[in-house]
Amino acid sequence: MIRVGFPTPSGRLPRQAWYAIAGFVLMAALTLPLLELGELEFGRAWHDSVEFLGHLLVAPSLAHLPKVLTAMGQTIAMAFVATVLTCVASLPVGILAAGNVGWPRTLPPLVRVIISVIRALPEVVWAILFVAALGLGPLPGILAMTVVGTGLLARLVAEAIEVVDPRCREGVAAHGASGFQTVWFALAPQALSEWVSAAVYMLDHNVRAASILGLVGAGGIGYQMTMATRLFEYDRLMLILLVMWLTIGAFDALSDHLRRRLTR
């Protein structure tokens, strides 16, 4: 429990706050030399930045609109497929990772370590690996998102199952339910609302992730953006930024709205 002794009677900041600020500043000062600010010539960087921002003051080119919209649709489709696969895969994996199901004692911790290692690497790294193995296209991107998403969602499912009252399981088991039936009828329904809410969040998360993946050759809007940047086509870039803002913003709002209704 953080006791925030602020505002203090004397009007000054409490001692803990000073410690925290000192730690922050110390860490910032220690890491500052690593940012290679010396290699950045401020005069030139300033000049380049102003020039660059000037380039951005163009009207979005409508000529590229059909292509960009197709790419955005591809991105959304990738995110959707990955989300569905994630939801399907995360239930069994999550149940395997839960400590109160009655697995051998070493199994849940093992599954947890595996999914936390999977989660540790961002989607992009997985996408690079899968692109190298499977070639360019949406499939490696979808696999990358599914792998990371399963790691995220399975942990949530496991946590939702672990807080289930043991009496629920006893009640179902008392009717003569088999091991699988106890899991399916006592534990899984309790994790369901958590699972649906997390699934909606995953869709939002995956649309963002999918728009990045084009950078490493997994298709979608990210590829369009990479090309526009490499070719210095600023009007195309502005169009892409606009489309991304509207689309991702819409998914953001949708996921907020749905989750607020689900958790109410």
């Binding site: 959707f80 936390s116 790294v125």
Partner: protein, 258 residues
Amino acid sequence: MMVTLPPKPRNLAPLAALAVGVGFVAAVRGLDLRFGDLLSCWPDLLDYAAEYTTPRLDGMADVPRLMAQTVAVAWWGTLLAMLLGAISGPLSSAALNPWPALRFLVRQGQGFLRALPDLLLTLVLVIALGLGPVPGVLAIGLHTGGFLGKFFGEALDAVDRGVYEGVAATGATRLQLLMLAGWPSVMREVIGYSLYVLDRNVRMACVLGIAGGGGIGVLLQESLRLFRYDRAAYLMVVIVLCLVAIDALSTWLRKRLS
């Protein structure tokens, strides 16, 4: 005796499942995905995976420095994000900002920053600032600043209005309201969200090098371009170990705080 039952609640689950199923099939068709390829090409996949089994670490003297640079990028990016959040959060909160037009503008701005993925933002900023960690810091800071602004604003809105009224009744100005009623009430959320963002930023900083944003990602990108999967495997082991260590540290910190 006639028993009148309450109306049966509508069960929308089958309808939702059907919609998801149809959407899934349409998306798979539209993207021309062939999951069968995964089964038919598994010998190739095993060959490919075998390349990762012998991590070699020649020419990797830069690893400690670049890993430290990764943490530096994440740290400074998080500082920038917290600064952006601390400024835009109160401006986007209905409890503290009485002007709806300004609130709307600030919220749209935050949404815009959230919508730009930091990896792609790095790619764009590299045009102006050149390769190196600085565009990475800016990209991470701007993107997560949009998130922190939204989180801080929502936390400030969730505070009991009585707290604000109590302080306002003493004749406090708007800034005093924020400093003496707003921030102290949401300190826990602010610390929690900031730690979460720092955690996420360290992960992201590991891959910013792919777009030219400095950090360990530079080496990873180089290794994969040169098909040096042995080096890439070693780098990934290093990255995972560092991330797991940082994860443990932040879990410990959070546990101490709550």
